[in-house]
């Protein structure tokens, strides 16, 4: 699946995550995660894993994802990634 434009979903509010996606001209999946230092240290890898799993599940290949996390649980991350990608198709 190819995304054709930039889009975003979610919010920069407590327990949520703001996901911004855009086509990656260089190819592949590029992920940039922005969160509080302590959260990034403790949960950064898990957040990244959830985002990557959702992207792969949706069959998206060339994508840049920028994520601004405010303490979102896995289910919120999955929902916001899916919404952003569906809006970008």
């Amino acid at each position: 699946m190819k995304i054709t434009k930039a889009a975003q979903a979610g919010a920069s509010e407590s327990s949520d995550i703001l996901i911004m996606v855009m086509p990656n001209e260089e190819g592949g999946i590029k992920l940039e995660l922005d969160s509080k230092g302590v959260i990034l240290k403790q949960f950064g890898k898990q957040i990244e894993k959830v985002i990557r799993e959702k992207i792969e599940e949706m069959g998206v290949q060339d994508i840049v994802v920028k994520a601004k996390d405010k303490g979102a649980l896995d289910y919120t991350i999955r929902a916001r990634v899916q919404a952003a990608i569906e809006r970008a198709i």
Partner: protein, 235 residues
């Protein structure tokens, strides 16, 4: 009487924190609102969030009710298609009419068959919030065996009539009476409109007594702090 007899707590379907906190206040039911509480441009995102929440969070101690968008809004069908597959306790139908209920019922029957759910396991709760629904309330509540009760939305009804809402609620006495008689005759839950000033506990108490003494089985809440008072009075 079925479950969610005394209280239902409304939360926005697009707010993760509210979805996570919803079960902790002890209400009989929680209503994840995809309609009024969600802006048009966020309908898709809220629908996905509620779907994921139903898969991920533990709502085993509470009846999960999804207020979908009306079918004629262009969002209702997608709400049902995505959410019903997670098997909520019930779907709440805004601007209820017998025609809309028939359409929703056939969609639910198809999904239940495809997913292997027992037939008629997903219940329906029509919202009475239009003059039409009030006039035909008995026809509405007897239009499907899935219907377990009714939610009276006074804000919607008074807007439909162009009336001003007051805390005392004299303007909704007839509507409350008509709904209660229909529900009691069919032994269904009758859930009264929420009291919107969440900091006025005395006002909430008075409004609960009024609704209880008219025959409502319970009351909707818009804030978890309202649940205790509602339960004390509708016990």
């Amino acid at each position: 009487m079925k479950q969610y007899r005394k209280s239902i707590l409304f939360v926005s379907g697009n707010n993760p924190k509210m979805l996570q906190d919803a079960p902790i206040f002890g209400s009989d039911g929680v209503v994840f609102d995809l309609e009024q509480a969600v802006a048009v441009e966020e309908k898709d995102s809220a629908r996905l969030l509620v779907k994921e929440a139903l898969r991920f969070l533990d709502y085993s101690g509470v009846d999960v009710i999804i207020r979908i968008n009306a079918l004629d809004s262009g969002y209702g069908e997608q709400d049902i298609e995505l959410i019903a597959r997670e098997r909520p306790f019930a779907v709440m139908i805004p601007k209820a009419s017998p025609e809309q209920i028939t359409k929703i019922e056939s969609k639910l029957a198809k999904i239940e068959l495809e997913e292997g759910f027992p037939a008629e396991s997903i219940k329906l709760i029509p919202v009475i919030e239009t003059a039409y629904a009030l006039q035909y309330v008995h026809k509405i509540i007897t239009s499907s065996p899935r219907i377990t009760g009714v939610f009276f939305n006074a804000e919607g009804l008074t807007a439909d009539f162009g009336m001003q809402r007051t805390k005392k609620g004299e303007e909704i006495i007839y509507a409350r009476s008509r709904i209660v008689v229909a529900c009691r005759a069919e032994k269904l839950n009758a859930i009264d409109t929420p009291f919107l000033d969440s900091n006025d506990y005395e006002g909430l108490e008075k409004d609960c007594y009024r609704a209880r003494n008219m025959g409502f089985t319970g009351k909707a809440a818009i804030d978890g702090r309202q649940i205790k008072i509602i339960h004390d009075i509708f016990d």
